[in-house]
């Protein structure tokens, strides 16, 4: 059981959830994740840690509402409890002084890449942050990012930011202008894939935080296996960060989308039950 300290909508369909988890808060490092279940019927969902406060004993994640379990999470109120909250899981991101680093986030990954950017800044890097959104009203945490970034960019496909670019173009433009030593990318699979593709020709090492489907999240079930450099890896214990140039993306895409129909069926069932 873990108590919800805060749950708020950051932007449409994206929610912040802060949970009382003192043990987890004491241990977590950038790039790690937690697994939680919204109720006893729910799925075990992995969520990258977006922030934590060891003194308060709280851990924050950002969720994108997609299937039944994330819908349920988005309805939880302060003071309610989730039956399962476990972590921190996975290997932390590699943080050290690389020189100039580029942190790319999109959607829930904006929250998730924040502690990575912060730690990289603390390690003495020049940090460039690039957030990808469809439209300006989908951006959040800009002020938090500006605090830990030397430069801050947004790629958006609306007129507000005066740019109609998707992330790979912006990344290509950025790496054309200067030497970037390392790229970190968190977000939907397509975003991190295009990010890795954008840096491939220049050979800039690009770490992507993979989000395959998981079940137990502790190395027991093998649901999250991905092929990296021709070898099978388990994202939950070997990752979630991997070298994006070595990931078998097509396999990951097909494994990720496989339960779409089940998700729709599950959501219909739950909505009918919950709202009728």
């Amino acid at each position: 059981m873990a108590k919800i300290l805060r749950r708020e909508r950051l932007v449409p369909n994206v929610h912040l959830i802060e949970v009382e988890a003192p043990r987890v808060a004491k241990k977590c490092q950038p790039g790690q994740f937690v697994i939680l279940m919204p109720d006893e019927y729910g799925e075990r969902i992995p969520l990258t840690i977006a922030d934590w406060d060891p003194e308060k004993g709280s851990v924050t994640s950002v969720i994108l509402v997609v299937g039944t379990s994330t819908h349920k999470l988005s309805l939880l109120q302060e003071g309610e409890e989730v039956p399962v909250y476990v972590g921190p899981l996975g290997k932390p991101s590699e943080i050290k002084k690389f020189g100039t680093v580029l942190c790319v986030g999109g959607c829930f990954g904006i929250g998730a890449v924040y502690p990575v950017a912060r730690a990289l800044k603390e390690a003495g890097n020049k940090v460039i942050s690039l957030m990808d959104v469809k439209a300006n009203y989908l951006l959040y945490w800009e002020d938090k990012f500006r605090e830990v970034s030397d430069e801050f960019y947004v790629s958006a496909r609306d007129s507000y930011y005066n740019c109609k670019e998707f992330v790979p173009h912006t990344v290509k433009n950025l790496i054309k202008k200067r030497k970037i030593d390392r790229v970190f990318s968190i977000g939907c699979t397509y975003l991190i894939y295009t990010c890795a593709e954008a840096t491939r020709s220049k050979g800039i090492k690009t770490m992507v935080s993979l989000n395959p489907i998981m079940v137990d999240g502790t190395g027991m079930c093998g649901a999250c296996r991905v092929t990296v450099d021709g070898k099978t890896k388990f994202a939950c214990v070997d990752g979630p960060d991997f070298d994006g140039h070595l990931v078998d993306w097509q396999e990951l895409f097909s494994r990720r989308k496989f339960y779409f129909n089940d998700e729709i069926q599950s959501l219909n069932y739950w909505e009918k039950k919950e709202f009728s």
Partner: protein, 504 residues
Amino acid sequence: MSENKKELSPELKERLKAEYNQEWRQKLRTSLKAKERMKISRVQMPERDSEERNKDFEEVNLGLDEEMARREARRCLDCAKPQCVKGCPVGIDIPTFIKLIETGDFVKSVRKIKETNTLPAICGRVCPQEEQCEVVCNLNKATGSPIAIGYLERFVSDYEREKGEIFVPQTSPSTGFKVAVIGAGPAGLTVAGELVKKGHQVTVFEALHHEGGVLVYGIPEFRLPKKTLEAEVDYLRKLGVEFKNNFVVGMTATLDDFKKEGYDAFFVGSGAGLPRFMNIPGENLVGIYSANEYLTRVNLMRAYEFPKYDTPVILGQRVAVIGGGNVAMDSVRTAQRLGAEWAGIVYRRSRKEMPAREEEIHHAEEEGIEFHLLTNPLRYMKDENGQVKSMECIRMKLGEPDSSGRRRPVPIEGSEFTLKVDMVVVAIGQSPNPLIPSTTPELEVGKWGNIEVDWNTMAASMEGVYAGGDIIRGGATVILAMGDARTAASEIDKYLKTKKRKKT
């Protein structure tokens, strides 16, 4: 299994003898001639009809009734030198509990078992008695059909639970020592029960959201109902064991953190992680599960009740399960119950070499599972959605015995053929869970990632740390894990006593 049949300890020998010489036992023994006892035929386990049971998850075996149990108990010759106890990894006083059944005192019988085994309802269901206690039964040598020890063990523990007469023994006065048990699987539950009875304060840390380990995520409902497991866990709670679920030792806290928090001793029973694969082309296609994932989705996450539960599972119509162990049988019978038109086993050796229990193989055959024996997969082919659509296999023949003593399977050249499948479950074993070894550098680890222990004491290379079950064995059975756990518990108790001496 030779390592199980160790000589009995002098203390156990003494106890068995004292029971054997009790007046009621002597009377009972002479009340019926051995010849008459041997005339009674072995009881048949009542089971549900195969055509009915292969469509749902209700338990297959129905259990004995009182009449059947007492009749079966009468068959036991009450030997002066019982071999059965030697075959039991936890050293249950088998003759006494059976003779108590013969007298009709079922409650006293189960209490006898619980002196040495905290989880009889589980062992009575999932232990391979046919290669442990029953195989060495003197009646087996004499008549070819041993006492049904497993059925009787199950009978008395179910009797106690169903009659609501669960007895919670007095624990020893508190010693003030704190023990952390890592993993609430068969090994962890056993250690916890033993040590709490000795007056130690025991906390069990479990990574998943239910206690039981493989008993809850692996073994299906039709073999071990969850309510049976829950009752056993509840019993431990009543004894005073504290459970902390959703706690991944190694990540949420390390053994070092626990030391600082005042824990005096540790038992690591973190089990098997990392399912093994064959590393053949196409093995990561959609529709190919490890047995762990498939069974976890269905059992722990209850995908068989989807969409009431949110976790889905592929409902394969043509399902091949790779492997010949109990986990393979559980997987293939699960697929059948989830509506597969065709569900089959693909195993590279012959039926004789299958590691699964005879009862499980037999049940699977009855339920219409097809066996492709002496067959090995070579690669998997996908359809336009990236899902597996067929597998190429090759026929095998048996060659010379390998290191395991079983004849090595050799491919027959040119015998390749294709099986049409839309789901595959790979059930060829797993490696020990890496989380504790990788976060506890002081622990010595073997080449398979297993924690190294002294097999006589179960002590690991770090002071005060003991280990047992799949984390030291790789992939074994519930009862071997429980046997390790019993040894470890008694050694931990000894260790704590010496610690006390040091303290004072």
